[in-house]
């Protein structure tokens, strides 16, 4: 009964909206890359990397803003490498993505031990400052607690605008749909593919930073597949910013439910609930919500 009342409450809805932040940032990140024709499954790794570098740099410098900026920078440097492999060298994008994920997982583990002599987590630190603007607004005050979450909601509109209302978006999408056609009109396709990867690097950095900032530390494995779920949300959302938002809500609802379950001390094993997002993803991918069609040249080196 406790569980039921905790789920049907405004607090629960606010929790869902707040937990959506890393999913939506990660899914938008992947979407910008894929709209430009590059499948970037290393969103998981990129989120991990930025969570780690944000925590480490914030702790070492004592300044979270320095941590934020340098963490974004680290991700952009890795994005250049990712772009060099997938766009310039035309290496298989999935293989490159898996490589980056494994490399980053190993690198963060190694540096964690090297810097903090801990195999599990960094010391605690004070995360990004909270936003007090909406503190006294009912309901909204419950989830609009930080700048990144606000940005995340704005990102829905920003993404629609960039992708569908600007010259940049049109050209980026042409790189993902039919690069030969774009090139025949004088568009530098490879440049646009790099731009897509950069945006992906930036947004996944913000997602990772949010994770570490919220938990006031970095712990090994803290991303816990959120990058992959973000990819699933992007597919379920059919590569459309607004649809992706709703797909992300679905996944964050599961996460919020799982938390409620743990708090209420219910007998339902939490592993069962943890499994649900993946199960739903499979259901969706086998045609539960109709056919999903990626950009035509998505994943095709050019």
């Amino acid at each position: 009964m406790d569980l039921l009342s905790s789920v049907i409450s405004l607090g629960f809805v606010a929790q869902v909206l707040r937990l959506m932040t890393p999913f939506y940032l990660g899914a938008s990140a992947a979407n910008f890359s894929e709209r430009g024709g590059v499948i970037n499954i290393s969103v998981e790794g990129f989120m991990n990397l930025s969570a780690f570098s944000f925590a480490v740099i914030s702790i070492l410098t004592g300044n979270v803003f320095t941590g934020f900026i340098l963490a974004v920078l680290v991700n952009l440097i890795f994005s250049i490498m990712f772009g060099y492999f997938t766009v310039s060298l035309k290496i298989n994008q999935i293989v490159t993505g898996v490589g980056f994920n494994l490399f980053i997982a190993g690198l963060t583990k190694f540096l964690l031990v090297y810097i903090f002599s801990s195999s599990s987590n960094t010391p605690r630190f004070e995360g990004l400052p909270e936003l007090s603007l909406f503190k006294n607004v009912p309901f909204f005050g419950l989830f609009l607690t930080d700048y990144i979450t606000i940005f995340c909601f704005l990102l829905i509109f920003i993404s629609v605008y960039i992708l569908f209302k600007t010259k940049f978006g049109l050209r980026l999408r042409s790189a993902g749909e039919n690069p030969a056609a774009g090139e025949s009109l004088g568009i530098k396709i490879r440049h646009y593919r790099y731009y897509g990867i950069f945006i992906c690097g930036f947004l996944s950095a913000v997602a990772g930073i949010w994770m570490a900032s919220n938990q006031n530390s970095y712990s090994d494995g803290m991303i816990a597949g959120r990058g992959y779920i973000a990819l699933a949300a992007m597919i379920i959302g059919k590569w459309k910013p607004v649809n992706i938002f709703f797909a992300c809500l679905l996944f964050s609802a599961f996460e919020a439910f799982e938390i409620s379950l743990q708090i209420s001390g219910s007998d339902i094993p939490s592993q069962l609930i943890q499994m649900l997002p993946y199960f739903i993803t499979i259901l969706v991918l086998i045609g539960f919500i109709g056919k999903t069609k990626p950009p035509a040249a998505d994943g095709v080196p050019y």
């Binding site: 209302k165 010259k167 042409s174 749909e177 030969a180």
Partner: protein, 504 residues
């Protein structure tokens, strides 16, 4: 004044000379046809003109100025536009997005769709293109997609328009509309370069003709009131030696009592759209039954039913002969072969019942096909994607005819195929018929249908509206040249009316 001057243009690919010292000019405001077989060097020359390839030597002048193009962008800046044989369109974009891509109009809020729409709607009205800017390209017919390509050139204010085999994919009605558009461009002072295989079209639309063969310019002629083109001269120039072409004119119609297959009162709807409407059709052994009609009137659905791909129809389909059905599909690149496989591998895909298939066996199969079908290529192990369209089609044709299947379905068997290969395939079709096989021939080339068919049926809105026996139209065939049969316009007009549903 000359729009384009080619002076001693030479382009080599490793040891192969694609363009060998080509010199000719294209007058401003002419419709200039460039002819030649697949591999004669037309596309290479056009790709040099459009900045896709760099010439090895020679000069290129546009409106009298010497130019050096390093990318299509340079050509576009010089008011040259090109409609590629395979359209450069983005299926998922709207017409508007496709057209403005690369030359977007922006205001301070982002893309200015309104201004672009105004400009484009004016152009659409002026040239009577009849396209809706908001529709998605994937929902458009091939004919309309071509108009989107044309609109792209107009939007960029191209003065020199290059069309690479524009009519190969169009139905006869669409070809007429296309020529009307070309004529209005000419009236506007634009220069049109037109690459084609079809001599009748050249005679109709061109002001001047240049013929390439094996990378060299071999023939040039004007086409106007004073000096009309001689088609036979032209076809000789294109193919060089025509003596190796034998068109068998050997009609021994031996209709059996029961047809190879018959379709009775077939109805078919796909996604609630009626595709076949009370269709009745039969095919006898030893006959070629031609089907003519504007594309999209149920031809592909008919083929799917006969071949067994479509089962959700009502009506009766009776096959009276044993054995399988062979098919030469309409879209050879997509359905006909695997482009990464070589000839022998593609042949072995069908009917090979070996468990062990060594490269040796495959090579022997390739050799047999190559020598038996007059396929000319340097490397027999090359993937089929590298072969010319004519050679690809010969291989598919060979694969479908080496089996002893009694029924042969041919869909656009010579689409995009050069004159020599077309003659070869026509000859093979007649040979198959003479062997007693039943041949269903679906084509948009009326001359091909009329010259080959023993019976000719018109398909309109999913039904057969009229069937002619050969003696009803054989009198209309006027063959000016062996390689390019010609039919009396009177009969063509009658067919055209039937195909578009106009009843007098």
């Amino acid at each position: 004044m000359n729009a384009i001057e080619f002076e001693n243009i030479t382009k080599k690919f490793e040891n192969f000379i694609a363009n060998d010292d080509i010199t000719f000019y294209i007058r401003k405001n002419d419709v200039h046809c460039i002819l030649g077989e697949n591999g004669a060097g037309k596309s290479t020359l056009m790709n040099i003109l459009f900045g896709i390839y760099k010439k090895d030597s020679g000069k290129l002048k546009v409106f009298g100025n010497e130019v050096e193009f390093s990318s299509p962008l340079d050509a576009i800046k010089n008011n040259i536009g090109m409609v590629h044989q395979h359209f450069m369109l983005i299926d998922d974009f709207t017409v508007l997005e496709n057209v403005i891509l690369g030359n977007e109009i922006s205001n301070k809020y982002g893309l200015d769709f309104k201004t672009a729409e105004d400009i484009l709607n004016k152009l659409i009205a002026k040239y009577d293109l009849g396209i809706d800017l908001s529709s998605t390209v994937s929902s458009l017919s091939i004919g309309l997609q071509q108009k989107v390509e044309i609109l792209k050139l107009l939007y960029r204010e191209s003065e020199i328009l290059i069309f690479d085999e524009p009519t190969a994919v169009l139905s006869p009605v669409e070809v007429d509309l296309f020529f009307k558009i070309i004529e209005s461009f000419k009236a506007d002072g634009k220069t049109i370069i037109f690459i084609t295989h079809k001599l009748n079209e050249v005679k109709y639309i061109s002001d001047r003709v240049s013929v390439l063969r094996k990378g060299k310019l071999v023939y040039e002629a004007d086409n106007n009131k004073n000096s009309a083109l001689a088609i036979s001269e032209l076809s000789n120039a294109i193919v060089g030696d025509v003596s190796n072409i034998i068109v068998t004119e050997n009609r021994k119609i031996n209709k059996n009592d029961s047809p190879a297959f018959e379709l009775n009162n077939i109805f078919l709807s796909v996604n609630n759209v009626r595709k076949l409407n009370d269709l009745c059709l039969n095919l006898f052994m030893g006959e070629i039954h031609g089907i003519c009609g504007v594309e999209g009137n149920g031809q592909s659905e008919l083929v799917d039913i006969v071949y067994g791909l479509q089962k959700n129809f009502t009506g009766q389909y009776v096959k009276n002969v044993s054995g399988g059905i062979s098919i030469v599909p309409d879209d050879r690149k997509r359905k006909g072969f695997i482009k990464e496989f070589n000839i022998g591998e593609n042949i072995s895909l069908k009917g090979a019942n070996f468990i062990y298939l060594p490269a040796d066996t495959i090579n022997k199969i390739s050799d047999k096909i190559i020598s038996g079908n007059d396929i000319r290529l340097s490397d027999k192990t090359a993937p089929m994607g590298n072969l010319s369209g004519g050679n690809q089609q010969k291989v598919i044709f060979a694969r479908e005819t080496i089996s002893d299947n009694n029924i042969l379905i041919l869909v656009h068997p010579t689409r995009g195929v050069d004159i020599n290969a077309t003659a070869f395939i026509h000859n093979e079709i007649l040979l198959q018929r003479n062997e007693g096989k039943a041949v269903l021939l679906i084509s948009s080339d009326l001359d091909e249908l009329i010259s080959l068919s023993d019976r000719l049926s018109v398909m309109y809105k999913g039904e057969i509206t009229r069937t002619f026996n050969r003696d009803e139209y054989s009198g209309y065939i006027r063959s000016e040249s062996e390689v390019e049969p010609e039919t009396d316009p009177e009969f063509l007009q009658m067919l055209g009316k039937l195909m578009t549903g106009i009843n007098d």
